[in-house]
Amino acid sequence: MTLLGVTDIAKSFGERRLLAIDTLTLSAGQSYVLTGENGSGKSTLLRILAGIDAPDSGHGLYGAQRFDWHPYPDWLRREVIYVHQHPYLFHSTVADNIVYGLRARGVDAGRREALLAAAIAWARLDHLLATPPQKLSGGERQRVALARAWVLSPKVLLLDEPTANLDAESRRQTIDLLRGFCAAECTTVVACHDRDVIALPEMQPLHLADGRIRPRPVASD
């Protein structure tokens, strides 16, 4: 069953046409790995799907509800979560970062505390709670960002190169958390070049080339 779809999405930067996607559909609970050369528009596509950037034209369908980007609907923001390649953590505490989205949704303090405890256990962040977010390593930041997304139980999770520039252990931990999202039947799109992520059995490939979704070439990436 299609959960999120976009049609006739075009995006240009000046003279350069970056995206010209006729149709892209994401099935409920399915995980996708989005591959493509550097500069092929993977990040831009994820940012458009998350409503952070708007396409020049096109429209979308979430379930049976049609939407566009003028403006991107607030109700959809609550279903779709985007995580940057280098996640930004607010200058507060790890715990405050994790519950930020819950506060934004007006979740009461008791429920927030319960979800925070669950997220800390899920991402194994106990030993990092007293560390200022700005002192965390890249891998630790990624785990806090994934926990921050996880507490919101998103229907769609969009991850931009989550394992880029991480050491082997951090990569392994991040991939474990990523598989946790997949197992939870969250529709996940991971833009990446990481062979280990691409090879995950739960991942369905999407390949972006010349601004379009195309069959993934054999032995690319």
Partner: protein
């Protein structure tokens, strides 16, 4: 009286709890704090809006605000005097030569500083901060609050800068306050008056208080900035 004698006399004045001196300090701090309490939310709010909204004439408005950073306080005082004088648009309010007039003047002087520095702070913030707040489902007011919290130390710099500018300004306070003893005489206007009278002890004593206030504000800023880097 030479400089050394005057300095000794100034220190004696400071230590003797001279009521006139401390009343002048009180007027200065009271007027400036009230002005800052009004100017801070206004200036930071307008700076945020200028940084985030796109509308026709925005760039021209930014140029005007930045130009006003260099506006002489005496000109602000002159314009306010014309507005508040008996023949002025707001003459009926009878605010001229009152602390309220001084507060209004200092708000007008502080605003361009607060707007321009807040604008620069928000524009200089990491764009991922806003995107993250939006992506996590924050509504517009929460996004705004998050951004202001993220750049809080730059905003504190703006507040320190504005405070320093208004607590030491003389032109506007003199014109719309009138330098009335016990009512509108603040540290800068008193320093100017006592110096013209040749009473250097009082002028130096007030100058020391003014310097301590300025150093205190900047030390507090440095402390918080250091905290933010921990």
């Amino acid at each position: 009286m030479n400089l050394i004698d005057a300095t000794h006399a100034a220190l004696r004045l400071l230590l003797s709890a001279d009521p006139e001196l401390w009343s002048i300090v009180g007027v200065s701090l009271s007027v400036t704090l009230r002005a800052m309490l009004i100017a801070m939310p206004l200036g930071i709010g307008l700076g945020y809006l200028l940084a985030t909204l796109r509308f026709p004439g925005r760039r021209a408005l930014i140029v005007v605000v930045q130009g006003l950073l260099a506006s002489p306080t005496v000109v602000v005082g002159l314009l306010l005097y014309l507005l508040l004088s008996r023949q002025g648009v707001f003459g009926q309010l009878q605010l001229l030569f009152s602390q309220t007039a001084m507060v209004i003047g200092q708000v007008l002087i502080a605003l361009p500083v607060l707007i321009a520095f807040s604008l620069a702070a928000i524009q200089g913030a990491d764009p991922r901060a806003r995107e993250t707040a939006v992506a996590l489902g924050a509504a517009t007011p929460r996004v705004a609050w998050t951004m202001l919290v993220e750049v809080r130390f730059a905003l504190m710099a703006a507040v320190c800068n504005a405070f320093g500018r208004v607590v030491s300004e003389i032109g506007c306070s003199l014109m719309v306050g009138g330098n009335i003893a016990g009512v509108t005489r603040n540290m800068p206007t008193a320093i100017a008056l006592e110096t013209s009278k040749g009473d250097f002890a009082q002028a130096i004593a007030l100058g020391i208080v003014l310097l301590v206030v300025a150093l205190g504000i900047n030390s507090a800023f440095a402390f918080f900035q250091g905290e933010s880097r921990q």
